[in-house]
Symmetry: C2
Subunit: 308 residues, 2 copies
Amino acid sequence: MFKNYDEMLAEAKSYSPMTVAVAGAEEESVLKALKRAEEEGLVKPLFFGGKEVILKLADNLSYKIEPSSLIDSGSPEICAFLAVQAVSSGKADIVMKGGIRTDILMKAVLNKEYGLRNRQVVSHVFFIKLPDYEKFLALTDGGINIAPDLPTQVEIIKNAVDFYNLVGLDLPKIAVLAPVETVNEKIPSTLYGAALSKMADRGQIKGCLIDGPLAFDNAISAYSAKEKNIHSKVAGSADLIFVSDIDMGNGLFKGLVYFGKGVPAAVVLGTKNPVIITSRADSSECKFFSIALNVLYAGRLRDRKLSE
Amino acid sequence: MFKNYDEMLAEAKSYSPMTVAVAGAEEESVLKALKRAEEEGLVKPLFFGGKEVILKLADNLSYKIEPSSLIDSGSPEICAFLAVQAVSSGKADIVMKGGIRTDILMKAVLNKEYGLRNRQVVSHVFFIKLPDYEKFLALTDGGINIAPDLPTQVEIIKNAVDFYNLVGLDLPKIAVLAPVETVNEKIPSTLYGAALSKMADRGQIKGCLIDGPLAFDNAISAYSAKEKNIHSKVAGSADLIFVSDIDMGNGLFKGLVYFGKGVPAAVVLGTKNPVIITSRADSSECKFFSIALNVLYAGRLRDRKLSE
């Protein structure tokens, strides 16, 4: 598996450009990221949104947009519908959120008629390469599932394991996050930690190593794990932090982004084609790397399909 | 209010040395922090724990301990009892956790006979000075209260406001953390955010500015708050992140400590004397600054008592 953004980018570039359907393209940082991604040969965008605004923003960025790739599309709901339909009909490979609300795009993605869901649960994984951590650190689910029950948690983990296996990591180390490393009935996250690690031991979840409950420091610092006498194949070198509710994950991840000096990227899992969701306040660099990561993901999904 | 550790240290040093009762002093990083604090004129320690081990560890650090300040005390429970009793009887000003478990010390601190509680709720506040944030950022409660109900949340905030007012900040800006900045019935933290900010508006909580729900980025980044069109006196420049459960707070804070390159310090509130609780894996520098912060707090508590 790629160890840094350079490696990730190189792997993504090994594929011919993917067509990205952008829902609500009238946002400067999205266009900036797409311009760079197009220049680097990663994507060919299809823009859905208000034609005039998009052309004006693109012009400011000296971004030349082919008229045939711009579909004047009215409301956010219509942009979302058209962009998702472009993917489900095979005209595009990836759908990307532009300047519309996440819930509007996700409603179209999850639509039963023309939507993209192909697994039981759709989930979200954040990735970040921090200067002080030797590999990518990921977190799921800090973006979509609010307070999943245990069966849903298992599906969220299975989604992530499938992704890791696809991008070349056979046994990702998954830390189930809690405020302490000991089991305490009053703290549900510690019970989930125990349950999920035992499920991995018993073969109910395969293709990964799971340990929990682990506090954040135990998960990522070998020193901290040692000081706490934690003997674990995961502690100190987690690939993925699993959070049992969105509250635990969202703030933690944003803290890492804002003060850890890393660039984040995200994937949505459980859909037959990649879905790129970034936040309005994310930098265009973050949006660019999310595009690259999803191009790589789309390529690997296609490789697997071809080999089946 | 102090803006960085130098200012905090200078304010703490304006008091004559405080007596610190250390429960379970047989831990190297605790002794190292106490040595520095004693050399800088902040404290005079009273050591409770295994005499021989403490003397040996101190010797390795070239730390000369007066025999009269070392009380050979057997089990962790007895260390905790004696250290807390030293404070409640007036022999010491501050109690500090050494190498014993937090729950053992807190049981003694909360004991109804000889304990130290003097407010409705005992709570925990983490402080950190991050290189990329212009002032201290604090978080409550990521250490003691697990999943407080609304009345308990109000008491946790009141404890923090009392502390801020005491150390010289009249209107601390408090952000109620959630994964999103919009109210969503399915996400309790967003409802707590709405409730607590309205309670501040109505004068049910005084001495502070509260806004919520705010996602972490909206709370600390003016850019992010602006991108999200959030108009708020708190967003972008929060002093204190309020978390409605320990899961949300603990991981976030540890993320800031491990990847944000700041030094943390902590206070326990709701007790008549300061209680220093640090984690075994915390650096001795973190322990030193926690001592300094609590010396300052002890001094201000004494000043207020004398002025009453």
